[in-house]
């Protein structure tokens, strides 16, 4: 391998070996032979992948290779899309995610999601967090207040918004909105967090803040993150998986530890893609 040369403006990479061990590699999600079709059109085909508990797994690959579709099938958000068919099996800690009798509401509470574009509800900052808590059965006002304050501190938003908790969430800046959305997902204390390019709609500064937050989630949550930014994947991920379009459908090309994918890719496609980033 060629030695890596830092891209100007981005901090030198922390060597992957120096990273604190995130976890014992213990699979939490097992995806087996998963395929997804929109009508007749396949989005991805035959993906088999294990996702380890407490780690950050990055899904990388070019646009349109099914990464986002893969992500949304893990919390069955695909149910919202008419004509969308999933086949294969997903086990979340033994729960058969795709089984028809699975309680999707409970599933989605366990598997939170952050979208590419921040999507706070058109409510106040406080209501954005209180409403999901109440809907999931937390009624104690004091407890609600404690939870909200805790998550707002966790995402570093508390000091910025504590004086205007009851003003509209849509008045926040893009970065603040995205952190509010993270708080909204975290307040339900999920086990898994799915993130669909959470930084790509943000300016570089806010993007950095959100990225630091994601790193802070390691070991407390199992994080899956879709990103187009290979430098970011390399900075934060413990594991990485490369998707690519082959024969008209997205395929999982290679998965492994981030170190292996970025430094000793086995598949020539991975090597090309990863080195493409190195220019």
């Amino acid at each position: 391998m060629r030695p890596s040369t830092p891209i100007p403006g981005i901090q030198p990479w922390v060597s992957l070996e120096e990273r604190p061990a995130c976890c014992v590699p213990k699979p939490l999600i097992d995806v087996d032979q998963l395929s997804l079709h929109y009508g007749q059109k396949p989005a991805f085909h035959n993906v088999t992948l294990s996702i380890n508990q407490g780690c950050i797994t990055a899904l990388v690959g070019p646009s349109g290779c099914g990464k986002t579709s893969f992500l949304t099938s893990l919390n069955r958000l695909t149910d919202l899309i008419p004509g969308c068919r999933l086949s294969g099996r997903i086990l979340l800690d033994g729960l058969d995610v795709l089984a028809p009798h699975t309680d999707v509401i409970r599933l989605r509470r366990r598997v939170g999601m952050i979208f590419q574009k921040p999507n706070p509800f058109p409510l106040s900052i406080w209501k954005n967090l209180e409403f999901p808590l109440r809907e999931h059965g937390l009624r104690d006002r004091e407890q609600i207040a404690i939870n909200i304050q805790t998550v707002l501190r966790d995402v570093g938003l508390w000091d910025e918004v504590k004086d205007r908790l009851h003003s509209p969430a849509l008045a926040l800046s893009g970065g603040q909105q995205q952190r509010l959305c993270m708080a909204r997902a975290l307040v339900l204390s999920p086990e898994v967090l799915l993130m669909d390019e959470p930084c790509s709609a943000l300016d570089p500064l806010s993007s950095g803040v959100v990225e630091d937050l994601i790193v802070g989630l390691r070991s407390r949550y199992t994080v899956l993150i879709v990103t187009h930014n290979l430098a970011q994947a390399r900075r934060i991920a413990d594991y990485a998986a490369l998707f690519w379009v082959q024969n008209g459908a997205g395929q999982l090309i290679e998965a492994g530890t981030a170190k292996q994918i970025f430094e000793e890719p086995r598949d020539p496609l991975t090597a090309a893609y990863v080195s493409g980033m190195r220019g």
């Binding site: 509401i105 808590l133 999931h136 059965g137 937390l138 939870n147 339900l188 204390s189």
Partner: protein, 287 residues
């Protein structure tokens, strides 16, 4: 963090679904009842003779021939007056004023109020202005003019929509070619805005045909065949009203007239929404 209480969400969800479906069932049932009742009672009465002969014996017998003629004349007067005014105003609002100009704002606001004015108030106004002050008396002309005031807002709004749907590029390129605004308007914008105008026209027609209250004291009750626009003439909707309220034994013909009116309106509104969807590529709420 904190353990949340498990709670049965299904109860509320079930209640909401039940409410939604029962609301829908109620609305659908009422609608079917209403339309079914009218069709059931009316269908056997509607013949070619019914549509062409004038009413006899206060409308209990005979048909609605003269009524249809009066209705058409009232409608003709209404559209003949309102279309030029509506088109001109829409052109001015869409092409020659900015959204924040005082004139534009005032005109728009006054049209908003106009669209909310109850039809009976139009009736009062028509009676005082057209019948008395202008001396037109109870006549087709008075009725048509009153209705013209009433349909103006709807006509202007959808015509304006039509003009706004024309891409700005047209105007810019016409201006760049040094065309005058009149030429641009006549040769470029007007043809492109025709769908909006048509939708407005059809919606206005529907509004005018459905109207009763504004016509009682402007076009009057006389059910004879009108000889001129200054004669009083009875519109179809007034005919239904009169038969059902003031003529014992008029129900059968009232049913038949109601079906004719409903069919006319369904055809008109259907045309409007078809035009809006296929030509204008936007939905216009028909209210």
């Amino acid at each position: 963090m904190v353990k949340m209480m498990e709670r049965n969400l299904d109860g509320r969800e079930l209640l909401a679904s039940t409410l939604v479906w029962s609301a829908v069932a109620l609305v659908t049932a009422t609608f079917c009842w209403l339309l079914g009742d009218i069709i059931w009672h009316a269908l056997s009465h509607i013949t070619w003779t019914f549509l062409t002969t004038p009413p006899r014996n206060a409308g209990r017998e005979g048909g609605i021939g003269s009524i249809l003629i009066s209705t058409t004349l009232i409608l003709g007067v209404c559209l003949g007056v309102s279309v030029p005014i509506g088109l001109g105003t829409a052109v001015l609002l869409a092409e020659f004023t900015t959204d924040d100009s005082l004139f534009g704002r005032l005109t728009r606001r006054s049209l908003d109020v106009l669209s909310g004015v109850p039809s009976i108030v139009f009736g009062l106004f028509g009676n005082a202005f057209f019948c008395k002050t202008l001396g037109l008396g109870f006549s087709i002309l008075s009725g048509g003019l009153t209705l013209a005031c009433m349909v103006l807002p709807i006509l202007i709004r959808s015509t304006e929509e039509g003009f706004r749907a024309v891409p700005t590029g047209y105007r810019l390129s016409a201006a760049a070619l040094g065309l005058s605004r009149t030429t641009t308007l006549v040769h470029l914008l007007l043809p492109a805005a025709v769908p909006g105008l048509l939708v407005g026209l059809v919606l206005g027609m529907g509004r005018a045909i459905a109207e009763t209250a504004a016509l009682i004291f402007t076009s009057g009750y006389v059910d004879r065949m009108p000889e001129s626009l200054l004669d009083s003439g009875r519109a179809l909707s007034i005919h239904i009203f009169d038969l059902s309220m003031n003529v014992p034994g008029g129900d059968a013909n009232a049913y038949a007239s109601a079906l004719v009116l409903v069919v006319l309106l369904l055809a008109i509104n259907g045309t409007a929404s078809w035009l809006a969807e296929h030509w204008l590529r936007r939905r216009i709420v028909t209210i």
